[in-house]
């Protein structure tokens, strides 16, 4: 497992470099001024959250297809990482919206759909905690993940479909190279960070599953204490 440590170290190095350039070298934006620097955290977080949910979708299909516990563990890991990054995304968005739009939150389609995405996948995690036999839990959470994933493309395309306050698609051509360099480095760093967290979380899920499988079954009914006999 030494490669996971390497992955984490690489993630931290890329994040450090990206943010150093983003905070110190890159110029302030013409319209938004210094606040534009949240961009170097916000875009990578959004990308990583969506990537994690996409991995979860693949894991869900795998779990339904093969029924192997490995897929189920990957699903647990990726949904949880996705929810954490999605939560961070909403917080950063709020912090950015306050100085630029003068409100912590607006009911803009992209904000709304991102919030829905988080609630939907949190629901999957709640479901996992409440279902008991591991096999049934695997099937149920895979089904719920697949249905919840319907929202992910909606989030991505929301800026295209509706007129939104949130800014639309940017591409490599529309972003200045001075800003593009820290952005791409931070995206790489955050993706690697997400990946290493995902690997750790999946391993924990796998260990928990093994422990659950090895545990002896509970007796069907509680054994009544025979108080009379012991007297």
């Amino acid at each position: 497992m030494r490669w996971v440590y390497a992955l984490g170290a690489l993630a931290l190095a890329a994040l450090g470099t990206g943010h150093a350039i983003g905070l110190l070298v890159a110029p302030p934006d013409r319209a938004m001024g210094e606040t534009v620097r949240i961009l170097y955290v916000h875009v990578p977080t959004a990308w990583t959250a969506m990537l994690a949910f996409t991995v979860a979708m693949v894991a869900a299909v795998g779990a339904l297809w093969s029924g192997r516990p490995g897929w189920d563990a990957l699903l647990e890991g990726s949904v949880e990482v996705g929810v954490v990054f999605n939560g961070l995304l909403l917080c950063q968005g709020s912090l950015w919206a306050r100085p630029t739009w003068d409100a912590w939150w607006t009911w803009d389609p992209r904000l709304t759909t991102s919030a829905i995405m988080m609630v939907a996948f949190t629901g999957v995690l709640v479901l996992r905690r409440l279902l008991h036999p591991p096999e049934r839990r695997a099937v149920a959470s895979a089904v719920a993940t697949i249905v919840s994933f319907v929202d992910v493309p909606v989030v991505y395309l929301s800026v295209k479909w509706w007129n939104t306050t949130h800014q639309g698609f940017s591409s490599v051509e529309t972003v200045d190279p001075v800003m593009l360099a820290p952005l791409l480095t931070s995206i790489a760093g955050t993706t690697l960070l997400g990946a290493s967290l995902l690997v750790w979380r999946t391993r924990i899920a796998m260990a928990a599953r093994h422990r659950e499988d090895d545990a002896p079954d509970l007796p069907p009914t509680p054994i009544p204490l025979d108080l009379e006999a012991s007297r």
Binding site: L64, V119, L131, E135, R136, V139, A140, V143, V147
Partner: protein, 222 residues
């Protein structure tokens, strides 16, 4: 097809035999409508403006109770095992159950509509056929994921909490489209936007009905 109709008939019959529950559910939904007017105060323009939204939220919260019941009955008597023994594909079972739930939900909407017309002072402008169509499409968007999740959570003790937690995020897009389409139909549509919203609603209906139909088999088979 005959099997499907037989299954729908069975569910409707169960609904009819337990009509006291259906009446209770309608009363619950009407009470919700009253609560909206109490919560917002007697400002008739606000109430009038948002009436379709209140009606749909009432339908949504009543529908979670309806959906949860629809599978609890099956699980309680071990009827689900019996159904699974029949030579019926789970996909057909899903469509039958969802169709029956949709019909029961539309009955509920039929009760709520006149009440909201009276309470919120609506003057229906659009054609009743179009309104019925939007109600059916909106109901379909709620019922398909609802039936799947009701089956999924039928054996969980905390179903009453879990079902809304899982279902509500999913039904936001169809619900939003249904509310917009309904309010445009009721209050006139100068910009001809109804088509777009109905299109969005229909897209989600097709998506959910096909996806949930495929996945249902895996949910009930163990």
């Amino acid at each position: 097809m005959r099997l499907l109709l037989a299954l729908v008939r069975k569910d409707l019959l169960v609904g009819w035999r337990g009509r006291a529950r259906l009446v209770g559910l309608s009363t619950y939904a009407v009470t919700l409508l009253l609560l909206f007017s109490f919560a917002l105060g007697p400002d008739s323009t606000t109430l009038h403006e948002h009436a379709p939204a209140y009606a749909w939220v009432a339908i949504l919260s009543a529908s979670t109770l309806l959906l949860a019941q629809s599978f609890q009955q099956e699980v309680e008597g071990g009827a689900l095992e019996g159904l699974l023994l029949l030579p019926v594909s789970p996909t057909a079972m899903f469509y039958a159950k969802a169709l029956a739930n949709l019909l029961l939900l539309l009955f509920l909407a039929l009760v709520l509509l006149p009440v909201s017309v009276v309470l919120f002072g609506l003057r229906p402008a659009g054609s009743p056929v179009a309104l019925a169509g939007v109600l059916a499409l909106g109901g379909a968007g709620l019922v398909a994921p609802g039936t799947l999740y009701a089956a999924l959570t039928a054996r969980v003790k905390a179903q009453q909490v879990l079902l809304p937690v899982l279902l509500f995020p999913l039904v936001v897009p169809p619900l939003l489209a249904a509310v917009k389409a309904t309010s445009l139909l009721l209050e006139g549509d100068p910009m001809h936007q109804v088509g777009t919203w109905v299109g969005l609603l229909a897209t989600f209906d097709v998506l959910y009905w096909s996806l949930c139909g495929v996945l249902f088999g895996r949910v009930v088979e163990e």
